[in-house]
Symmetry: C2
């Protein structure tokens, strides 16, 4: 699959070494002028002398810690095993009331009821000793390096190497002030004004918001239900013509959300990633792997109606040895691009927003020292370090209190909770609509999911069986997500009774007209969803022809925040409003 491209035979690659291995090529030509111009701050340079024993420094303009009004910092925190590693079982999901849902959740998550909070405390000063990695307010609240607290550096290094298993041992990690700022700094580090950036044909609007003000433009690549198509990536790059592209030079940066893609929910496995990677080697492309949902990978959705022991998802035995459970979990995750990155052309972006909290404004880059050193320089003259409060509290919790196994166990609980929420919203659509799998209808990029039809009562008042019910048109369809936080809901406006009429009346974009009408009707009925058009790079490229695969009306529904009760109201409202909209 996806092999309509040749492997690289680029003669600019370094020669094989004696062991027959190709050392990583020099990729410094990818750095922007801005990135190349950055110096090490001379003040930072002098700071290294501070470490000399007995040195009295009058060099840095650091305020005195006795004047920091915070003397200790403490937090009551959840234990790493606060949430069950298993979402509610198929059997308990079959009970249909909210109450039973909640019961099943608590049965599955006994820790929630008898949970013991643990107080973590960060003192201002060391009591005795105070090794380099000790977390103290006197240090965390002082000016600090852009590379973060030493204990956090150590944690990130160990965590990223054990979990992402980068191909190159030289791969490093660097804390940042969240994925949005991380991506913004990557744009500044790699791109010049007017560059094109290769993206999925549905993409995250805030990522575009970071580069479009520089007159950088998205270059959409066709995708299917598991993500960007290597064949289309290769085709676009091979056929790149500066003139027909309005003077835009051939792009050298891919921005991809490979897991739980925002908004489509697509997730690339290792095979797809390898294929994309080889195209990037062939065309000398840097891959920015923006992966906020990496730890939110779920089992396949199985509707309640099809629940059986045979197709039940893997159940984690909470009594099993923690180590074995964690190994199973990590092995269940798709590999990162880093695992295939033998040339150092991947910059991975992780965030603590989805796994700890967005307010931490903490994330980290992982990639080659070439790029990460320049990103560190970019931080030094802008954000400097991440917040010391954030660094101290998060590091104290996940590194000192939990450790890597504990933090990984915490991630399993997060994953199970969002799996439950994914099941909630899918089950609710299953209840409100008549769902059919394996339909002929493509949801996105030719991929089939479930299509939803209006349920119709039989003449005798009971639910009709499928064959006899006289199915109307598909109203909506979606691929039950296997990761992330979103259902990418297709509205089959082409089946709307007025669609053809609008076309005939000269409306060139009846999809937009009808989607606006439906969005407004939903908002009037107090259900707020994200319009699909927000996520379309084509919507930002006026005059560009939109391929078939990137057309269609969509909403993005987040299942991450609303309660089950709210979701039930929302889906039932959607059922009513959508049926009214389609006049069925």
């Amino acid at each position: 699959m996806d092999s309509a491209y040749e492997l690289s035979s680029d003669s600019s690659l370094p020669a094989l070494n004696q062991a027959g291995e190709r050392p990583p090529p020099d990729l410094s030509h990818h750095l922007s002028k801005l990135a190349k111009n950055r110096d090490v701050s001379p003040l930072k340079g002098i700071m290294k002398y501070n470490g000399v024993p007995g040195m009295i420094s009058l060099a840095g303009g650091t305020p005195h810690p006795s004047l920091f009004p915070f003397e200790t910092l403490s937090s009551s925190t959840l234990p790493f095993n606060a949430y069950s590693t298993n979402p509610p079982s198929l059997v308990s999901r079959s009970a249909s009331t909210t109450l039973s849902w909640l019961q099943s959740f608590f049965v599955q998550n006994p820790e929630v009821l008898k949970i013991k909070r643990k107080d973590i405390v960060i003192p201002k000063y060391a009591t005795v000793g105070g090794g380099r990695e000790e977390i103290l307010l006197e240090r965390a609240l002082q000016y600090g390096g852009a590379d973060g607290l030493p204990a956090l550096q150590t944690f990130l290094k160990k965590f990223s190497h054990s979990v992402f298993q980068p191909f190159l041992p030289s791969t490093v990690s660097l804390v940042n002030t969240g994925a949005t700022d991380g991506w913004s700094k990557i744009v500044q580090t790699l791109c010049e004004e007017g560059d094109g950036i290769l993206v999925e044909e549905w993409t995250y609007p805030s990522a575009m918001g970071a580069y479009m003000p520089y007159n950088c433009k998205p270059v959409p690549i066709a995708m299917d239900g598991i993500g960007m198509l290597p064949s289309d990536l290769d085709k676009v790059l091979t056929e790149w013509d500066v003139e027909t592209r309005g003077g835009m030079k051939k792009p050298h940066v891919v921005n991809t959300v490979p897991v739980g893609q925002n908004p489509t929910g697509a997730t690339m496995g290792g095979e797809r990633k390898k294929a994309i990677y080889e195209v990037c080697v062939k065309h000398d492309i840097i891959i920015c792997e923006d992966d906020p949902y990496y730890f939110l990978q779920f089992d396949t959705y199985i509707p309640k109606s099809q629940a059986s022991l045979q197709n039940a998802p893997k159940v984690y035995n909470n009594k099993k040895s923690q180590e074995g459970e964690i190994t199973d979990f990590l092995e269940s995750l798709v590999p990162s691009f880093l695992k295939f990155d033998y040339q150092g052309r991947v910059i991975r972006i992780d965030t603590f927003s989805k796994t700890i909290c967005p307010g931490s404004r903490l994330g980290f880059f992982t990639g080659s020292p070439l790029f990460l050193e320049r990103l560190q320089r970019a931080s030094e003259t802008s954000t400097q370090s991440a917040s010391g409060f954030s660094q101290a509290l998060v590091t104290k919790l996940i590194s000192e209190e939990w450790g890597i196994p504990g933090y990984t166990r915490w991630l399993m609980g997060i994953r199970a909770t969002y799996t439950m929420r994914r099941d909630w919203i899918c089950d609710l659509f299953d209840s409100s609509f008549h769902l059919e799998h394996n339909s002929q209808i493509s949801v996105v990029g030719g991929l089939k999911g479930v299509s939803c039809y209006a349920k119709r009562a039989s003449l005798t008042g009971g639910a009709m069986d499928e064959k006899s019910r006289g199915k109307g048109p598909a109203l909506i369809s979606f691929i039950p997500p296997t990761s992330g936080m979103f259902v990418w809901l297709r509205i089959h406006v082409e089946n709307h009774p007025d669609y053809q009429k609008l076309l005939a009346e000269g409306d060139e974009e009846p999809t937009i007209t009808l989607m606006d009408e439906l969005w407004t009707a939903l908002a009037d009925n107090k259900v707020l969803v994200s319009p699909g058009a927000y996520f379309s790079p084509y919507a930002r490229l006026p005059g560009t022809e939109v391929p078939e695969s990137a057309q269609g009306g969509f909403f993005r529904l987040a299942f991450s925040m609303a309660s089950h009760e709210q979701l039930a109201v929302a889906v039932s409202t959607m059922e009513r409003v959508i049926k009214e909209f389609f006049k069925v």
Copy 2:
């Protein structure tokens, strides 16, 4: 003084209105292409619907707060009156041992000994009600607006209007992620590649580090001991010639640190600021007032030897009504540029780094809505919001717990503490060297401070009186700082015995040679200081002629961090090393 320029008669100014007032002009031509290109994120746009009562939102990809592992956050904090408002008195300073210094400090600061910490606690969820401004982890740790927590917005608005008293009532404040990032965002918002930025002829290297990678260059303006000279600013701008300037267009941005200027310690009063402002009106310049040391304004330094009740600095009566004391304090501070800003051309940068702690990575802009709205957009696609931990803790303390009067009282304690430290270092130089005031020797920009000579013992072993001791050359000199954290120490290398010899031998820069030698000798003797060259914009402008006023050897000494004991060792080491260096 400084009036060698004419007031503006720019015909592009808006006409007078009926009341004879000139409405603020449109300054949007100062925005960079990048800043003009920034859109409001469509996702942010939709968020406003979240406030509609009963709305169920599936729009935002927000993680569920039950999965934030932090359940409460608490901190043991100092009370706002932890530190005395008065530095140790002249009398207590006259005692010369470290011990007596410490005693005098504690006598002056009785609260330090019997201080009562106060625990502040931030819950995750509201217990009852939970108004918009309540500080809760469920909100602070969630995704938030670039404009920060509502309670912090309110605090900043009230604080900046009451303390800085901006001329224009429309002046607004906006939280940011620290002054370094704030300045970096201003550069992006106002400047194009290759722009010149007007700075003092000694300036903060990290500020240059933010714009030089964009090929923006500092344009040094001559200064005296109180800061940038309006006459030179006017001259440079009036005589600006694009060709002789190598194609650089006439600058339109001033970057100034007007209080406790880094590194010189110069502080501009209202008269100087008004004069600078009028030059900026004349030439249509935006003023970036970077003011980290604003609340660290001290009384004039009086050497112990000249201590008397007649010239004693103002003593605050700690028993006086808090309100009166605070009013006195605020009135003692020089006015901000905002006070004169009738055209909305000032962007003020404040930071909590010096008044709360650098690790907060919190600061704020104050200025016209035109610029601040664009700065907010710049944050939305980069740093998003400041850390929620930082915002919650700092806001809880200074807004809820202390309030504006309490926070102002805290600032008075900070000011007194750094005044004490300023006295420490000046007194130590007074002890180690023979100090003379009103000398003929200019320290910086023609301004006289104190010159320091080697003390010489009389033949009988006692200290000689001044007249008979046979004064050698001035070794060092400085202006005792009246604000900030630094002594800008001039080393009179021109008096070094080898200076002329080096010149004769063809060394074109004997100052650099000798300063390097002295810096290394100090570091070898375990005293670390910042080399003056770091702070020279001329050092970044190879080939530019350095005016007399910007020459000379300097070190910047921070007195903010070292203990009195360390400072005593450092100054006594400097005495020894400097005498050896000068061979006296």
